[in-house]
């Protein structure tokens, strides 16, 4: 398994500077979440790590390899509804394997186990429109895990889900992650989600996006959902909220 190292990434669209001199690392097997106000360039940063977009300057390395073009070591979990409506659950989950020219036959059993692991056993033949939002995101996750990546890049994967399903998916993600240990870079705008999931939380400022804070989460694993209701948890969330509030004030409101 390999970690991610982001070095001085800068990116602008037109004359708007989106990311300025972003640097951070995620160690091998580490779970890093990135939070920040909307419009701070979180998604752009993630797309640059995946090689879907290029930074104007700076570099991204996965392990020792310099990323240029879609990175084989990464798998991207998109926001809701990134499933192919014409493919069944099983066929959606194997799309990444197909495109990366992995032999489906030799990996078929593993793919079935993966679907079982993400809680989709028995749903292989369903089409996405027959699934709930939470289940679709499970397929998304299975599709990403199927290519056995070193790094999982997750772009607000639970943002479109209702509060209850989101909490369930958070515990599910931790359960799956403890089984399939990956380096994870997870973007969210939900502070409690960020703290609950992560080893480290990066707080981004905006206009342009910079790393405003880097917080190590002290809670041991496995974590119960009840952790969210403890005082320490609340204090940590409060501290991050303070940083973000400052950022928003400085850059002129929501």
């Amino acid at each position: 398994m390999r970690g991610v190292s982001v070095q001085s990434i800068t990116k602008s669209f037109g004359d708007g500077l989106v990311l300025r001199d972003i640097s951070f690392t995620a160690g091998a097997g580490e779970f890093v979440t990135i939070v920040g106000p909307s419009g701070c360039g979180k998604t752009t940063l993630l797309r640059i790590i995946d090689g879907l977009e290029e930074g104007d300057s700076g570099e991204v390395r996965i392990g020792d390899r310099l990323v240029s073009g879609p990175a084989r070591e990464c798998a991207f979990v998109f926001q809701a509804d990134s499933l192919m409506p014409w493919r069944t659950v099983f066929d959606n989950a194997k799309l990444g394997m197909e495109l990366r020219k992995m032999d489906i036959q030799t990996h078929k059993d593993r793919l079935k186990e993966l679907l079982q692991l993400v809680g989709l056993g028995g749903f292989e033949k369903y089409y996405p429109r027959q699934l709930s939002g939470g289940m679709r995101q499970r397929v998304n996750l299975a599709r990403a895990l199927a290519v056995d990546p070193d790094v999982l890049l997750m772009d607000e994967p639970f943002a479109a889900l209702d509060a209850q399903t989101r909490e369930i998916m958070q515990t599910e993600l931790l359960r799956i992650w403890s089984d399939q240990r990956k380096t994870v870079v997870f973007i969210t705008h939900q502070l409690d989600e960020a703290v609950y999931l992560a080893d480290r939380v990066l707080v981004m400022g905006r206009k342009p996006g910079v790393i405003a804070d880097d917080i190590t989460v002290p809670f041991s694993r496995p974590r119960e959902l009840s952790l969210k209701r403890t005082g320490e948890f609340g204090q940590l969330v409060e501290r991050i909220w303070g940083t973000i509030e400052g950022v928003i004030r400085e850059t002129g409101g929501i």
Partner: protein
């Protein structure tokens, strides 16, 4: 920005438990339940329509020179069959329809894909496509007959010219409206431009292409008749023209009825094709 809500509910499910709405439907196409009754209604509608036609023709008009009844139309078909002309006419018109429809549709899909993927070709071709789509190409049929002769190929060209433009427009729209995220998914897994086209855009466009085929069926049938009216040696349109000049209303109606039935049959076959190829696209165009 949201602050974690203190009142969020406390759910702690067992690992692996699937919560959330369970699919309301079985993994079939979900239409089976209503198919039976909708077929019954359609059949009933046809029966009532034919009955009305018979009543109006027999009692209200009462003159087969103005309106042939269904019964007279049927005997018209029988006469055409026994005289041996109908078989030949069906074959000729059928060939014109099939060749024109297939070539026109295939070319329409190909051109639509090219202009969707290549901006320059789109700029070059768009004025012609919108122009020809809007002009009654039928008006050009006499010239096409002049150029391509009285055989089937002049009619095939007429049919192609009618079928191709809606299919170009539909295919292009399908590929153009492909959801960007889905392209990104394929790209992020290393999909090449061709793979993005084959595995994402083409599938996304399938319901549009099928809708284009359905439009094409009607236009192709019109092309066959009108093409033959302007000049042919055989065919159903040719037969209709003859019947008209002899004031043989039953045979004229017979010809028209055969076209109508073909329209119903081909459109139905396409819905079957849709169900087989795109069962996932229940609510798409």
């Amino acid at each position: 920005m949201t602050v974690p809500s203190q009142s969020s509910s406390h759910v702690e499910p067992a690992p692996g438990v699937v919560i959330g709405k369970l699919p309301a439907r079985k993994p079939s196409n979900g239409r089976g339940m209503h198919r039976k009754s909708s077929i019954t209604i359609s059949t009933l509608s046809i029966v009532v329509g034919i009955a009305l036609w018979q009543i109006i023709g027999q009692f209200l008009v009462g003159n087969s020179l103005f309106l042939a009844t269904p019964w007279q139309t049927l005997s018209g078909i029988r006469d055409m069959w026994t005289s041996g002309g109908l078989r030949e006419d069906l074959l000729v018109s059928g060939e014109e329809f099939i060749f024109g429809f297939l070539i026109g549709s295939a070319a329409g899909i190909a051109v639509g894909a090219v202009i969707a993927k290549n901006r320059v070709s789109k700029r070059i071709l768009t004025p012609y496509i919108s122009g020809f789509y809007a002009t009654p190409i039928i008006a050009l049929a006499p010239i096409l007959i002049l150029w391509f002769g009285l055989g089937i190929w002049s009619k095939v060209v007429v049919v192609i010219s009618l079928v191709i433009f809606p299919q170009i427009i539909n295919t292009e729209a399908g590929i153009r409206t492909t959801e960007e995220t889905l392209r990104d998914v394929a790209r992020s897994y290393g999909g090449s431009t061709i793979e993005v086209f084959r595995k994402v855009e083409l599938w996304w466009s399938l319901p549009y292409i099928l809708a284009g085929l359905r439009l094409g069926v009607g236009r192709a049938l019109i092309g066959v008749v009108v093409g033959e009216l302007f000049g042919a040696r055989a065919g159903l349109g040719f037969a209709i023209n003859n019947a008209q000049s002899e004031f043989n209303m039953p045979e004229l109606f017979a010809g028209v009825a055969i076209f109508a039935v073909s329209g119903i049959v081909f459109t139905y076959l396409l819905t079957v094709l849709e169900r087989v190829l795109a069962p996932w696209a229940a609510n798409r165009p």
